[in-house]
C-alpha cells in the first residue's frame, strides 16, 4: 500500500485507510476522504507544500504530512 503523498501529480488513487486519530482523522473524513473513494492529485503548491487534490467532484488542499497518513492504492 502507498500513501497519498507519494502519488504523483495527475495520478489517481483509491483510499484504503486513514492512519491518524482524533479530530484530524474526523476532519479528513468529514471532507469526503473515506475508504474506497477515488482521489486525484492535481497540484503541488509553489513552495512544495501543501498539495491540491480532487475528491468527490471538488478541490481540496492538505499538507504533505497529513497526506502521508492517508493510505491508498494507486490506479
Amino acid at each position: 500500500m502507498s500513501n497519498l503523498k507519494k502519488v504523483p501529480c495527475g495520478q489517481s488513487a483509491i483510499v484504503r485507510k486513514i492512519d491518524v486519530q482524533g479530530s484530524l482523522k474526523r476532519r479528513i473524513m468529514d471532507m469526503g476522504i473515506t475508504k474506497g473513494v477515488e482521489v486525484t492529485v492535481k497540484k503541488v503548491a509553489p513552495l512544495g507544500d501543501p498539495i491540491e487534490i480532487s475528491v468527490r467532484g471538488y478541490s481540496l488542499s492538505l499538507r504533505k504530512v497529513d497526506a502521508e497518513s492517508i493510505l491508498v492504492d494507486q490506479i
Binding site: I18, Q21, S23, L24, K25, R26, R27, I28, M29, D30, M31, G32, T34, K35, G36, V37, T40, K42, K43, V44, A45, P46, L47, G48, D49, P50, E52, S54, R56, G57, Y58, S59, L60, S61, L62, R63, D66
Partner: protein, 674 residues
C-alpha cells in the same frame, strides 16, 4: 407569535447570498456567546408573520471539534428552531449532502434549498428532485440565490413548514445492518433513561455509540450501562477494523455514494473546469508568488496610499472644521474654557483621529471582501502556508500584516478571514509589531535628531518588527499556544464573480463595527487622556507639564530608566502614544515648549537632544514600535478577541517584549558605543 428559521450549509455554498436575498438588507450582526463566531439574524422578507432567520456558521459537519460546529449543533438542538433550511451547493452536491445527512439525523423539521442550479444547468447536469426528497425524507426547492430564482417558492414552503401548517416526519436514514443493530441496542438502553425531550433518540444513540465528547460530558452512563455501550462499540470496531466515529462517517458517505448516480445524471467526470484553468496561472509554480505580491501591493496602494491618503486628508479637514464650528458655538454660549477644551480637543479631536481611518477602512474591507468572495483567499493560504506555519501562523496571516503597515486597526480586523482560532489570535497579537503609518513620524523625529547621517536607522524598524513577529511566533507557538495546531485541510472553491450586494453589505457591517467602537471606547479614552493632561490633582486647569499626566510621568519614569529614557517627559510621551502614536511627536512639542510642531521642526530636533542619547533614542524607537498599540488598535483587538482577557494578555506580551528589547538595545548599545 414569532417563528425562527435556521440557515445551515457548507462554507462557499452561497449561504450568505441566500441570507441577504431572503431577508432584504436589514441584518443584525453579533457574536455567539462565548466564542468569536459571527452570528447574523434578520427578518424573512415579504411575509406577514414574524419570522427570524438565523444564519448559522458555514460548516462541513456537525462534529464536536470546532467552535463553529458546536455553535451550530447546540443552536439546532437546544434552541429548537421551527425550521432548518439546509442550503446545498448543487454543483458540489456529493460532499454537501454529507451535512444534510447529519442534519436529518437530528430529527428537526428540515427543508433543502438546492442552490446554484444555474451552474448545474449550464454544465448540462440533471438533478432528480423527487429522488432526493425520497432519499433524505425532506422537501427540496431548487434556487439560484445570485439570480434571485426560486426564492419565493422557498419562502412559501418555509412559511408552511415553519408555522407547522405542513408537517414533515423525520426520516431515519439507514446505515448497513451491523451498524443498525448496534444503534438499536443503544436505543433500547436509552428507553429506560430520563432523556431531555430536545434530543432525538436515534441521534443520541449514535452519538453515545461514537463516544461524542460533548454528549458524553452531558450523559453519564451508569456502571451497568457503560459495558453494554462498550460491547456494542467493540462489536462494530471488530467488524470494520476502525473506530466507531469513522465507521459512522463512512456509513453516511456510503449512503450518498450509493445513490448519487440516481440523484445526479449526466455527470461529467474529471472535466477541466474554468477554475482549473485560472489556477494554472494563479497557483502556478513560478507566477503564483509574484501575482500574490502584486495583488497585495495593489490592495495596499489603493486603500492605504492613494485613495486612503486623499480621504484621510479630507476627514482631518472635516473634523477640523467641525471642531472649529463647535468651538465657535461654545464660545458663543460662553461656556467655561475647560468644557470647550474637553469637547473640541478631547472628544472631537480624539474621535476624529480615529474616524479619520473610516474611509480607508471601507476601501480595504471592500477589496478584501472581493478577494474573499471570488475564492482567491483560499489560494493565498495554499501559496503561503509553508512559510507561515514555520512561525506558528497560517498563510492567511500575511494579509493582516501587509495591511498593518498602513494601520494596525484594519490589519487586526482583516484577521477574521483566518478560520483557525489559534492562528487568528496569534495574528492579532503580532500584527501591531509591523510599523504602522502613525509610528513613522516618531521614527522620523528620532532619526532627524540623532541619526541624520545614518539612512539605515529608519528602515531598520521594519526589520526589527518582522524579526519580532518571527521570534514571537516561535515563542508563542511553544508556550501560550502550545498544543495541537488546527489541521490545514482547506477547500479550494470554484472561482466566481463576487456578489456586489453581498460584498458591499459585508463591508458596511465591518465598518459599522469599527465606527461604533470609535464612538464608545475611544470616546471615553480620549476624554480621559485629555482630562489627565489638562488638569492637576486639585482639578485646576494647568499646562501639561504641571498636569496629572506629568505627575503620573514622574511616577512611572523609573520603569523606563533602565531603557535610557527615564525622564518624565519621555514617559508622558509614551503614555500619550496610547491615544495615537503620532501624538508622541506632539507631546514632545508641547513639553519642550515649542508647541504642536511637525517632526522636522529644527527647534524640536535640537531641544529633544536633552532627553536622549543616540542609543537611548534608538531604544525609545524600538519601545514605541513594539509596545501596546494605540487605543483604536486595542479596541480592534478587543473586538476580534471577543474578550478582555486575551486583549490584556496581548497588551501585556507586547509591552513586556518592548521593554525587554529596548532594555537590551540600551544596555548592550551603551557598552558598545560609549
Amino acid at each position: 407569535m414569532g417563528y425562527s428559521v435556521a440557515l445551515v450549509g457548507n462554507p462557499n455554498c452561497g449561504k450568505t447570498t441566500a441570507f441577504n436575498a431572503l431577508t432584504g438588507s436589514k441584518a443584525y450582526v453579533g457574536n455567539w456567546p462565548g466564542v468569536t463566531v459571527e452570528k447574523k439574524e434578520g427578518k424573512l422578507r415579504g411575509v406577514k408573520e414574524d419570522i427570524t432567520l438565523v444564519d448559522l456558521p458555514g460548516i462541513y459537519s456537525l462534529s464536536p471539534y470546532t467552535p463553529e460546529e458546536v455553535v451550530a449543533r447546540n443552536y439546532i438542538i437546544k434552541e429548537q428552531p421551527d425550521l432548518i433550511i439546509n442550503i446545498i451547493d448543487a454543483s458540489n452536491i456529493e460532499r454537501n449532502l454529507y451535512l444534510t445527512h447529519q442534519l436529518v439525523e437530528l430529527g428537526r423539521p428540515t427543508i433543502i434549498a438546492l442552490n446554484m442550479m444555474d451552474i448545474v444547468e449550464k454544465r448540462g447536469e440533471k438533478i432528480n428532485i423527487k429522488r432526493l426528497e425520497e432519499l433524505f425524507g425532506v422537501k427540496v426547492v431548487p434556487i439560484s440565490a445570485t439570480k434571485n430564482q426560486g426564492l419565493d417558492e422557498l419562502i412559501n414552503l418555509a412559511l408552511e413548514v415553519g408555522t407547522k401548517k405542513v408537517k414533515i416526519a423525520s426520516k431515519a436514514i439507514p446505515f448497513d445492518m451491523i451498524i443498525e443493530q448496534s444503534i438499536n441496542e443503544v436505543m433500547i438502553l436509552l428507553d429506560g433513561k430520563q432523556i431531555d425531550e430536545v434530543y432525538n433518540k436515534r441521534w443520541l444513540a449514535i452519538k453515545v455509540l461514537e463516544q461524542d465528547k460533548k454528549v458524553v460530558e452531558e450523559f453519564h452512563l451508569s456502571k451497568e450501562e457503560s459495558p453494554i455501550v462498550e460491547e456494542a462499540a467493540r462489536l462494530l470496531e471488530n467488524a470494520y477494523d476502525d473506530d466507531v466515529e469513522s465507521i459512522i462517517i463512512n456509513g453516511r458517505y456510503e449512503y450518498i455514494t450509493k445513490h448519487i448516480s440516481s440523484i445526479v445524471t449526466n455527470r461529467p467526470d474529471h472535466k477541466i473546469t474554468l477554475s482549473d484553468k485560472i489556477d494554472k496561472v494563479i497557483t502556478n509554480r513560478i507566477l503564483a508568488i509574484p501575482i500574490f505580491f502584486g495583488i497585495m501591493w495593489f490592495v495596499y496602494f489603493l486603500s492605504i496610499q492613494t485613495v486612503g491618503d486623499m480621504t484621510i486628508g479630507f476627514m482631518e479637514g472635516l473634523f477640523g472644521t467641525i471642531g472649529d464650528q463647535v468651538g465657535l458655538w461654545l464660545e458663543g454660549m460662553s461656556v467655561s474654557p475647560w468644557i470647550h477644551g474637553l469637547v473640541v480637543d478631547g472628544i472631537i479631536g480624539g474621535v476624529g483621529a480615529v474616524l479619520g481611518f473610516v474611509p480607508q477602512l471601507m476601501i480595504l474591507f471592500l477589496l478584501i471582501g472581493i478577494l474573499e468572495d471570488c475564492g482567491y483567499m483560499s489560494r493565498v493560504a495554499f501559496i503561503m502556508d509553508k512559510i507561515f506555519r514555520k512561525f506558528g501562523l497560517s498563510g492567511k496571516s500575511f494579509i493582516p500584516m501587509v495591511i498593518g503597515t498602513g494601520c494596525s486597526v484594519p490589519g487586526i480586523m482583516a484577521s477574521r478571514t483566518i478560520e483557525s482560532e489559534r492562528d487568528r489570535k496569534m495574528t492579532i497579537m503580532l500584527t501591531p509589531f509591523i510599523p504602522c503609518g502613525a509610528k513613522l513620524p516618531v521614527f522620523a523625529l528620532m532619526v532627524g535628531a540623532f541619526f541624520p547621517e545614518h539612512v539605515w536607522v529608519g528602515p531598520s524598524m521594519y526589520v526589527l518588527g518582522i524579526l519580532m513577529v518571527i521570534l514571537s511566533g516561535l515563542i508563542l507557538k511553544n508556550t501560550l499556544f502550545k498544543g495541537e495546531a488546527a489541521p490545514y485541510i482547506l477547500e479550494l472553491p470554484e472561482y466566481h464573480i463576487p456578489n456586489f450586494k453581498g460584498v458591499m453589505m459585508q463591508m458596511w457591517d465591518r465598518s459599522k463595527a469599527f465606527i461604533i467602537k470609535a464612538g464608545t471606547v475611544i470616546f471615553v479614552a480620549s476624554g480621559l487622556i485629555w482630562f489627565l493632561q489638562s488638569f492637576n490633582f486639585s482639578l485646576q486647569m494647568v499646562d501639561t507639564n504641571e498636569s496629572m499626566l506629568a505627575s503620573i510621568g514622574h511616577v512611572i519614569a523609573p520603569i523606563f530608566a533602565p531603557l535610557g529614557f527615564g525622564t518624565w517627559q519621555a514617559s508622558v510621551a509614551t503614555v500619550t502614544g496610547f491615544l495615537a502614536k503620532e501624538a508622541v511627536v506632539a507631546t514632545f512639542g508641547i513639553l519642550l515648549g515649542v508647541g504642536e510642531v511637525a517632526e522636522t521642526d529644527p527647534t524640536l530636533l535640537t531641544s529633544i537632544g536633552q532627553f536622549f542619547t543616540p542609543v537611548s533614542a534608538y531604544a525609545f524607537m524600538a519601545f514605541t514600535l513594539l509596545a501596546a498599540p494605540c487605543f483604536a488598535a486595542i479596541g480592534a483587538m478587543k473586538r476580534e478577541f471577543g474578550n478582555w482577557k486575551w486583549t490584556l494578555i496581548a497588551i501585556g506580551y507586547q509591552t513586556g517584549l518592548a521593554w525587554i528589547v529596548a532594555f537590551l538595545i540600551y544596555q548592550v548599545g551603551s557598552l558598545l558605543f560609549k
